[in-house]
Symmetry: C2
Subunit: 206 residues, 2 copies
DNA sequence: TGCAATACGCAAGTCTCGTATCGTTTCATC
DNA sequence: GATGAAACGATACGAGACTTGCGTATTGCA
């Protein structure tokens, strides 16, 4: 209960366990290692792992989301389309083919583990969602998007296809889909139906 | 090797096992039953289960996707928007709150099992994708969608947000998102936009 | 009628997850 | 110092997934 009472937790054990989890995930995938191996590699007892994280799914999510959680994915580039594109490119890089199986493992592991899902939301989804929300706010401020723009819907439209291609289609995100996402958001919520560069691009060569 | 050699597989055992799996899933959820129970309820030995399906995840996916795999989700309603809306409603109903935990379990079952993922794609994803592709073809035929409509992108835009809300947000599909999906697809690929400035309209005169 | 091949039920054995309990160690507080 | 609370490594445990091996049953073919 009282954190100031009793022996304090071994400093460094948290990070050692997370690192071991990350390494074993990249080396062997979710099913390819046991919690015992995590403990051994981290140099701690098995119980010290379970004292910190209640299950393998939660530990895996914690390990895979513990780095780079504070990045502003949809950073300010001057225009909403720029913010959106650079953010999507960053996500595309993160979900790149090399780590596809890895992220599939993480996503599916969350599905029925409520604690793992909450942690994933906290560490991964929320920062990105907030970053996108800020980009939308800036866009409304600039007059690029309508005031009624529904951030939640934009998030779903932007992130959903990503997830689908990575998990279900098990394929990279193609340029045509990335363009379609950007264009769809601009068409749905663009404040002024003026010619956005997204639509011009498709016509300009002609 | 040769299927005509040796004792043939017990006819009916396949279906009995799948039925038992389905029942136990709906009654107790993925973690709530053992393979032993599946075998007992189906009236077969445990090995007869593993002879047909290599793991519990694969069996569960097989059991949950073995019925209704041939439904034409995006059936012909007379218009593309109708097809799309009725299909989305059907998917929403399938993933509805009552069966949400069930499908979360199925996703979880796929977590560490590539074979289960492949089977899910084969039995669940592919038929829906094909159904949507047929609806798009009809729409192009009717002149509702542009000839260049990219079926793959439409699939991603339609199914992605669904998956995202189900897997990440663990929430129902809101009406506003469903409307946004329909509108986005129509804006992107609608062949004859009325007065709304759609992309195709600006490109087609060339 | 034999024989090879395969499926069958059954049971024993291995592996891993997650829990519980040991004696020990490290801290704050008395 | 002594004490109590909590973390530590180690280990035993129950449960369930999956494997392996046994003896038997059922088929096609020689």
């Amino acid at each position: 209960m009282n954190p100031a009472v009793g022996r304090p937790r071994s400093s460094g054990a948290d990070e050692a366990i997370l690192r071991a989890g990350r390494e074993l995930m990249t080396e062997h995938g979710y099913a390819g290692f046991s919690m015992d191996e995590v403990a051994r590699r981290a140099g701690v007892g098995r119980q010290s792992v379970y004292r910190r994280w209640p299950s393998k799914p939660v530990l895996v999510v914690a390990a895979m989301t513990s780095v780079g959680a504070d990045v502003d994915v949809f950073a300010d580039t001057g225009s909403f389309e720029g913010d959106l594109r650079s953010g999507l490119e960053a996500m595309r890089a993160l979900y790149h083919r090399s780590s596809a199986a890895l992220f599939a493992d993480v996503y599916f592991a969350m599905a029925s583990d409520l604690a793992a899902r909450d942690l994933f939301n906290e560490n991964h989804v929320r920062p990105r969602r907030r970053s996108l929300a800020r980009a939308v706010e800036r866009a409304i401020e600039r007059g690029e998007l309508a005031r009624e723009t529904d951030v939640s819907t934009v998030t779903d439209l932007v992130s959903g296809p990503f997830l689908y291609r990575r998990l279900i289609a098990a394929d990279d995100l193609r340029d045509v889909l990335l363009d379609a996402i950007v264009e769809a958001v601009l068409l749905l919520y663009g404040a002024k139906p003026q010619q956005s560069s997204a639509t011009i691009d498709r016509c300009s060569p002609a």
